[in-house]
């Protein structure tokens, strides 16, 4: 069996495993649903997730330790993950085959030639990582300033370099100007970082382009709901995800690019591939030529997936170990071995120091820029309701990789990928939407936090979520608070009984309670013509038969106190029959009120957990008459409501 066949088996296996994990990421009792499968395993293998969260939080969360396995294997084998494991890479690989079918040999070889823009992926990697490294840099500089020996050393060094540079100016050296400008820039940047530390932040943005979160997100939020829309095998009813069209379009666009250039995403965009590329320079085994008696036939580049030019000086950072060159070489010159290639190799990424610095600086600067809107401060968005257990917003943004696992597993389909609700840096992070889906956040469900690979949503116990046992003093986890819109609520605004919200409130005692209120209905002030055994003839005829006999309407004598109302049992246009009530029988000629008994909902903010079941059930189906916003959420004091 050739090495290429082994690689294909490996690719198909890991792709199938990935798709299986996507399928089983749903709650239920079927054998194919969550049964302890490590459904986030590919995310845990991803060293970019691990490195990103290390930079932002300084810790390596639980199962992200798996990334160490990938790193060690990469240091031994090279970019094996890209060519052998990555499910997204396998998809590109397959689509790339389709694109090659009508091409001639020379066109294929030309299509696999190295392109200088393949270095874009390194820029992207540096940019995304430095967006997460802002606070770490600030911390480093601050520590530097705290320990005076280090500060004096840097300062002294700067003076020496400046003196040398100035001295060199008479010697007509070309680099002198650059060194001086660099020093001025360094001290200016240090001052900025030190002084502007409140604005410098760490925001984990690798998930935007990291292929593993990307492929999870795309398959779970766009592909599966579409594939399952006619069969409904995977979910009882249609799953919806707000804005999933964009996720789907980007996914399909990335795949279609392979028709033009094979493995376009892997070669030009993929930041994870770039990270592996950086590591691969130290790898023990590499692709290379055994000797230099090569006739330069070029067949090795016919199917080269990485565009890494094994024919000449092989570019190790771009080689995805597809092994097609081994098969292609008819003279058995190319091999996979520990010795360097006979025709030489390029081991470092095609990224200049200046380019790397620029990507770093812009990455660090972009986070303060996107936070200029103040959404982490006074301008926080109350519509941004995070899943139960989500960390405070700053900490949350340091961990969320936008993989969509919480959205996939949520049994009620209320977790959605955010648009700009959480600012530019919060695109595709989870946000709750109580209008879509089958209910609100279920009281006895803690699934989202247990699938979150980075603990941006903490894995809660049921006791912690519901505030039981040892968690009783802190109370249940609140994701927001419900507010009644008195202008839309039926009993408040329209004299119609309702209280669906109160009934559905799942906490005990209910967070929604009702206040009884008797309201005289429109045209409800009527005069009594005659009274006979509970049947009261009216002078006016304002009612349809049965209209006020629903069990909610009462006849009340004017000026008398409560308790002197009697329930209306029947009515015709001009007469009502009331339940016997001694004090409430009116006299002929008297003015009486027809009143409706309303129970008006009130929210007790000390009980409300913001689960949104009330909002989901509210019969005012467009803009709901009771709506949850993030005030009083447990995760932050920013929006706390109560003393």
């Amino acid at each position: 069996m050739s090495i290429v066949t082994v690689r294909r088996i490996s690719q198909v296996f890991f792709l199938a495993l990935f798709l299986w994990f996507c399928v089983v990421s749903s709650l239920g009792v079927e054998s194919w649903q969550l049964r302890g499968w490590p459904v986030s395993w590919f995310l845990q293998l991803d060293p970019l997730v691990a490195l990103g969260t290390i930079l932002t939080t300084g810790t390596l969360y639980a199962n992200l330790l798996w990334a160490l396995v990938t790193v060690i294997l990469t240091l031994i084998l090279g970019r094996f993950f890209c060519g052998w494991v990555c499910p997204f890479g396998t998809m590109h690989h397959a689509v790339g085959y389709l694109g090659k079918r009508s091409k001639t040999l020379s066109e294929e070889i030309a299509g696999n030639r190295f392109h200088p823009l393949q270095s874009i992926k390194f820029w992207i990697l540096v940019f995304l990582l430095s967006a997460g490294a802002g606070s770490l840099l600030a911390l480093g500089i601050r520590q530097g300033f705290r320990s005076s020996p280090l500060l004096w050393m840097v300062f002294g060094g700067s003076i020496v370099i400046a003196a040398l540079a100035l001295g060199g100016m008479w010697g007509d050296r070309r680099k002198v100007g650059a060194v001086l400008i660099g020093l001025v820039g360094f001290w200016a940047a240090t001052g900025f970082v030190f002084g502007g530390e409140r604005m410098i932040g760490a925001s984990l943005q690798t998930g935007l382009l990291d292929p593993i979160p990307l492929v999870y997100r795309s398959v779970n939020l766009a592909l599966l709901p579409l594939a399952d829309s006619s069969t409904h095998v995977l979910s009882v009813d249609q799953r919806y995800y707000e804005g999933a069209w964009l996720i789907g379009v980007l996914f399909v666009a990335a795949l279609l690019m392979n028709l033009k250039i094979p493995r376009f995403y892997c070669r030009f965009v993929c930041p994870l591939g770039a990270l592996f590329g950086v590591l691969a320079r130290y790898s023990l085994w590499r692709i290379g030529k055994a000797c230099s008696d090569c006739i330069q036939c070029g067949l090795c580049e016919q199917d080269c997936e990485g565009g890494c030019e094994p024919l000449g000086q092989i570019r190790i950072p771009d080689c995805v170990l597809c092994m097609n060159c081994l098969d292609g070489c008819k003279h058995q010159i190319i091999g996979y071995r520990t010795a360097p290639s006979a025709s030489g190799e390029i081991v470092s990424p095609n990224l200049s120091r200046r380019g790397a610095l620029m990507a770093l600086a812009s990455g660090v600067a972009v986070i303060p820029a996107v936070r200029l809107g103040g959404q982490l401060g006074a301008n926080w968005n109350p519509g941004l309701i995070r899943p139960p257990g989500a960390l405070p917003e700053e900490e949350f943004l340091k961990r969320c990789i936008k993989c969509g696992q919480c959205m996939r597993v949520c049994p009620t389909n209320i977790i959605h990928p955010a648009g700009f609700e959480a600012g530019l840096e919060g695109v595709w992070t989870p946000i709750l939407n109580y209008r879509i889906g089958t209910s609100g956040c279920q009281l006895n469900c803690i699934a989202c936090g247990h699938l979150c690979p980075t603990a941006a949503i903490r894995p809660l116990t049921l006791d912690e979520k519901k505030g039981l046992g040892t968690f009783e003093p802190s109370g249940p986890i609140r994701v927001g608070t419900a507010f009644v819109d008195h202008g839309r609520c039926l009993p408040w605004a329209m004299d119609r009984p309702c209280i669906v919200c109160q009934e559905n409130c799942p906490v005990s005692p209910k967070a929604i309670f009702v206040r009884e209120h008797y309201s005289t209905v429109r045209a409800g002030l009527v005069s009594v013509k005659s009274v006979a055994r509970g049947r009261i003839e009216l002078a006016e005829r304002p009612f349809r038969p049965g209209e006020i006999a629903t069990g909610d309407y009462f006849l009340a004598r004017e000026g008398l106190q409560d308790g002197n109302r009697s329930l209306i049992l029947e009515n015709s246009e001009g007469a009502v029959t009331v339940q016997a009530n001694g004090h409430a029988v009116p006299e002929p000629g008297e003015k009486v009120h027809v009143q409706v008994r309303l129970q008006r909902p009130q929210v007790d903010p000390s009980r409300c957990i913001g689960c949104g079941i009330c909002e989901h059930e509210c019969p005012v189906s467009g803009r709901r008459a009771i709506r949850v916003t993030a005030e009083n959420e447990s995760r932050s004091r920013r929006g706390s409501l109560l003393l």
Partner: protein, 316 residues
């Protein structure tokens, strides 16, 4: 040749236009009567005035005594019958909170139906919370499966519009209809619960779970709605479980302190009478619950419990 092609194209365009020509435009949308479905009468003639009220803390024992008093489940379910059991699975809460039909009771009813020769037993409801979570967390799915019954979760395509004859509220409204296909017997099992808007949630209120759409608008006229639900459904047998009654914080409950042991199981062919007995467990009378009087008036059943000569017994 070219003019022939052009002529053919003109003729084709003209023909298609003439064929599709619609001078009036679309009309205002209206419900077509022909799409409407109604539920058949599932009651067993001659047995429609049966009622037993059994005291006891063990639901399975109480059910045994109750059914024996009524002539056994075999009197209601014959060989080859296809039975649908409408449970109350409204909320995704554990069975111990009694906000939903008790799973042991469901399993026992399903088992007895199958033992009596029923060809199939399906269990369904359109709950308020997420259906999947509701049936799993309440234990109802497992109970049904263990007894050999099938659970049907509601889907968008399972609803067909219905209109209640003689009613005025439930008109052209989506009804959970697909699970009823081929069904010949209907049994409802519901717990007795406090309900702020209607006063009580028992058997008649339980039919609410057959409605789809944004049904919560019916809360504006809850008593007439419950009356119309009772007019809509003519069950074979109803089982009102007052072994534990939710006295407060209904219909969701959520705490054991909302519950009270009332140790009563009501098995009845008359749904109104069952609710009339259930009301007493909540400390209410028939006149506190307008929907019962309205249902009596509509001829659905009787609230004069004694007129049915109920079997009262104790299952200890």
């Amino acid at each position: 040749m070219r003019s022939a092609k052009a002529g053919a194209a003109v003729a084709l365009a003209g023909g298609v236009s003439a064929w599709l020509f619609d001078p009036e435009g679309p009309r205002a949308p209206s419900a077509s009567e022909s799409d409407l479905v109604t539920l058949p009468d599932f009651s067993v003639s001659g047995l429609d005035r049966k009622l037993s009220i059994i005291q006891g803390a063990d639901r399975v024992k109480s059910l045994d005594v109750a059914l024996k008093a009524l002539g056994g489940i075999e009197a209601f379910v014959k060989r080859g019958d296809r039975v649908l059991v409408k449970v109350n699975a409204a909320f995704a809460t554990p069975a111990i909170l009694s906000a939903t039909t008790n799973p042991d009771l469901l399993a026992e009813v399903c088992r007895r139906c199958l033992k009596a020769g029923a060809a199939s037993v399906v269990v369904t409801d359109n709950p308020i919370n997420d259906p999947e979570s509701c049936f799993s967390l309440t234990g109802l799915r497992e109970a049904a499966h263990s007894a050999g019954a099938r659970v049907i979760l509601p889907r968008a395509g399972f609803f067909r519009p219905t209109t209640v004859a003689g009613g005025s509220l439930i008109k052209d409204w989506p009804l959970l209809h697909t699970p009823f296909q081929g069904v010949t017997r209907l049994i409802s099992i519901a717990p007795v619960k406090d309900h702020n808007r209607s006063g009580a949630s028992m058997i008649m209120k339980n039919w609410y779970g057959l409605l789809g759409g944004r049904r919560n608008i019916f809360h504006q006229d809850i008593h007439n709605t419950i009356k119309e639900l009772a007019m809509m459904v003519k069950p074979t047998l109803v089982i009102l479980d007052g072994t534990t009654t939710m006295m407060t914080n209904g219909p969701t409950g959520g705490s054991l302190s909302d519950l009270k042991a009332t140790n009563t199981l009501i098995v009845s062919a008359d749904q109104v009478a069952a609710d009339a007995v259930g009301a007493t467990l909540l400390g209410k009378t028939v006149s506190d619950l307008p929907f019962i009087l309205k249902a009596v008036e509509a001829g659905v059943g009787t609230a004069d419990v004694e007129s049915l000569r109920p079997v009262r017994a104790s299952a200890v």
